[in-house]
């Protein structure tokens, strides 16, 4: 079957969208529910999933390009489907397609346009006004000459952002449904009923659901993107036989429980790291603006999944702590993070981070470094696996460790050595009292 991919109308006011990213390359197979592309409107960015399986035959609107709502932007089809009639009907000539296919080879000519389009054209006065009124110029729609944001646009933006009288419920609903309040504002306070009426009048496309990104999500996105784009990261994987560590935990667990303390594998690995990171100063460091900072203490961060996203509180000066103290302190930080009680102090100053996806059955992944740190340790699922011990195949509880390091500071050999030593202690936790 052939599926035409159209630019979705994401909300009432959307007239065009810009393709930020195609997650699938031309010629690749997609399943239903696979991320297909990311589209940006003047308000938000959405990831669009494939609703058909098949081969992404053609990408007609490339990354960075803009298309009108309902415009044909790509085609998913079976291997032997003839799509030429669609291309002809849509006005796209086959010849052009060839050009598009080769466009990767001629990116230089496109570059100046990209530079031009990425610059926000605003008059000096518009910028001044936006700054004075606390309006993000990036969110202002340009109506001025040659696509320039002029003072009037800023003033309109201000009306949109601030001056519309609206009940909190109605505002929330409008946000959720992608309705531009400015467009329906008539001067009287907008209420829930007004939004519902609009929705009735313009039924929303049910294929997509929009949600405005939370500020935490935006920050996470920005950090992740920056780290991804600016850091040469390498992930190293190594399996550890957990037999001895499991024994250790079982024996201590009962003792700790008497005092109401819960002991997890995270705590034990943190204890191991607290010991090793004092020794491996390159991994307990920050690297920013060409300066290497070696930290005196180990402030060990732990990635905590919270309702709106991700938080990484850190256990301060963990190298001075006993396992018991680590267990208590870590659990408290996690609890505080999840109940939104965390003091901001615990969210900064980290020197190394661990992230555990084992509870979700993950066996290997590539964690992204929490900049300006230079390394992160990913902890995976403990799984019974056949391994060779003394030339015999035995079943052992194995766990994979995924260490990502910043290759600009930490060389591969050092990373491997560090990871190996973690594994050694896990396999022989008596070394902790060494």
């Amino acid at each position: 079957m052939i599926k035409e991919i159209l630019m979705p109308k994401l909300g009432l006011t959307m007239v065009e969208g810009k393709i930020i990213q195609w997650f699938v390359k031309e010629g690749e197979f997609v399943n239903v529910g696979d991320k297909l592309f990311e589209v940006e409107t003047d308000k938000l960015t959405n990831e669009i999933m494939a609703d058909t399986e098949g081969i992404l035959k053609n990408i007609l609107v490339n990354e960075g390009e803009t298309a009108e709502v309902k415009a044909l932007i790509g085609i998913i089809a079976g291997e032997n489907d003839d799509i030429s009639s669609i291309l002809t009907n849509s006005g796209v000539e086959i010849q052009q397609l060839i050009d598009i296919e080769f466009s990767e080879e001629t990116p230089i000519t496109e570059q100046p346009e990209n530079i031009e389009s990425s610059y926000i054209k605003a008059t000096p006065y518009a910028k001044k006004l936006a700054e004075e009124r606390g309006i993000d110029i990036n969110n202002v729609t340009a109506t001025g000459y040659r696509g320039t944001i002029v003072a009037n646009d800023v003033e309109n933006a201000e009306i949109n952002e601030i001056k519309i009288k609206v009940t909190p419920t109605a505002r929330k609903m409008a946000e959720d449904k992608g309705i531009n309040l400015a467009e329906i504002y008539t001067g009287t306070k907008i209420k829930k009923a007004d939004i519902l009426a609009i929705e009735e009048k313009y039924p929303q496309d049910n294929e997509f659901e929009n949600e405005k990104a939370s500020s935490m999500r935006k920050i996470i996105a920005q950090r992740m993107k920056n780290t991804w784009a600016g850091t040469p990261m390498v992930t190293f994987n190594m399996e550890a036989d957990m037999t001895e560590t499991i024994n250790l935990r079982e024996k201590l667990k009962a003792v700790y429980e008497r005092d109401g303390i819960r002991l997890t594998y995270n705590h034990i690995i943190m204890k191991i790291l607290s010991k090793l990171l004092v020794k491996y100063r390159y991994l307990n460091a920050s690297f920013d603006n060409d300066t290497i900072i070696y930290h005196k203490h180990v402030n060990l961060g732990i990635a905590v999944d919270v309702e709106k996203g991700l938080m990484v509180p850190n256990v301060k000066e963990i190298e001075k702590m006993t396992l018991r103290e680590i267990a208590v302190q870590t659990e408290k930080l996690i609890e505080d993070a999840r109940t939104n009680k965390l003091s901001p102090d615990y969210l900064s100053g980290g020197t190394f981070t661990i992230t555990n996806l084992g509870m979700f059955g993950i066996e290997s992944f590539s964690p992204i470094i929490n900049k300006p740190e230079v390394a992160i340790l990913g902890i995976n699922k403990i799984a019974e696996k056949p391994v060779v011990v003394n030339k015999e195949i035995v079943i052992r509880p194995m766990m994979n460790l995924s260490l990502t390091t910043d290759h600009s500071l930490v060389d591969g050999a050092l990373s491997a050595k560090f990871l190996k030593e973690i594994v050694e202690i896990i396999e022989n936790p008596y070394l902790l009292i060494d």
């Binding site: 000096p124 006065y125 001025g144 003072a151």
Partner: protein, 322 residues
Amino acid sequence: MRQITFSQATLEAMAEEMRRDENIFVMGEDIARQGGVFGQFKGLSDEFGDRIMDTPISETAIIGAAVGAAMAGMRPVADMHFADFMGVAMDELFNQMAKIRYMFGGQTTVPMIVRAPDGLSSCAAAQHSQSIEAWFMNIPGIKVVAPSNPADAKGLLKSALRDDNPVIYFENKILYREKGEVSEEEFLVPIGKANIVREGTDITIISYSIGMKKAYEVADKLEKQGIHAEIIDLRTLVPYDKEAILKSVKKTHRLAIIHEAVKQGGAGSEIAAFVAENAIEYLDAPIMRFGAPFVPVPFSPPLEKAYRLDSDKIVEEILEKF
């Protein structure tokens, strides 16, 4: 109020000031017997006799002698016939007249006026049609005025005749015939002070001399589009009224400068640069300059017409920036 022409206004200014100050005298070609090529000195010699002096065709000597006489206590007025001929006397204008007070450490003053009829008339071609005021904006030591109407013509000339600095008085040839209200009471128009002739909120249009006619035309056409232009008649080019310009631009956030002189390196360039340097954050559109193309003034009527500013085109360009 009574209406008199620009030319009559200058005559009144001359006569009033010459009666008041006997050190004033006038030198120029064709001014005593003929009353000036444009009649702008008509009748003055009847009243003032040899204080109105016909000279040989010697612009160099006219300006040089005026400088010398000014240094020796007189208040000469030197007529240049056509502003275009100032080039003949350029050394006297910019190396002598402009610099003498400064380079001699303020030992003397050079109170004199150079009257320079300028601008396009009817097919006067390349050497009799120019507006060269911008040259003199680049020469410290001179004041430069360019009135746009009879009242300013009189008031500025009277002020110039009382100023102890050399003043170049650009008088547009077409404006001579223009009538306007001029008070019968004595008045002066201060040098260095612009006139906000129409208040507006959406764009500032700056002009002077004959350019003001275009400024009004343009503003009227913009008004029909709902754009309220503020018009500033600069009146003086050196020293120009920076305060008035900034104040207006900060109010309207847009600026257009119109003059008949060549756009490149024209007065508009200076004003544009000044505003960009001092108030760019108040600008909501690029500064627009309107002036003559970078070409000598051609003779043939259709060519001359093509050379002239067209208010419709100016309006069109301004609207594009809204």
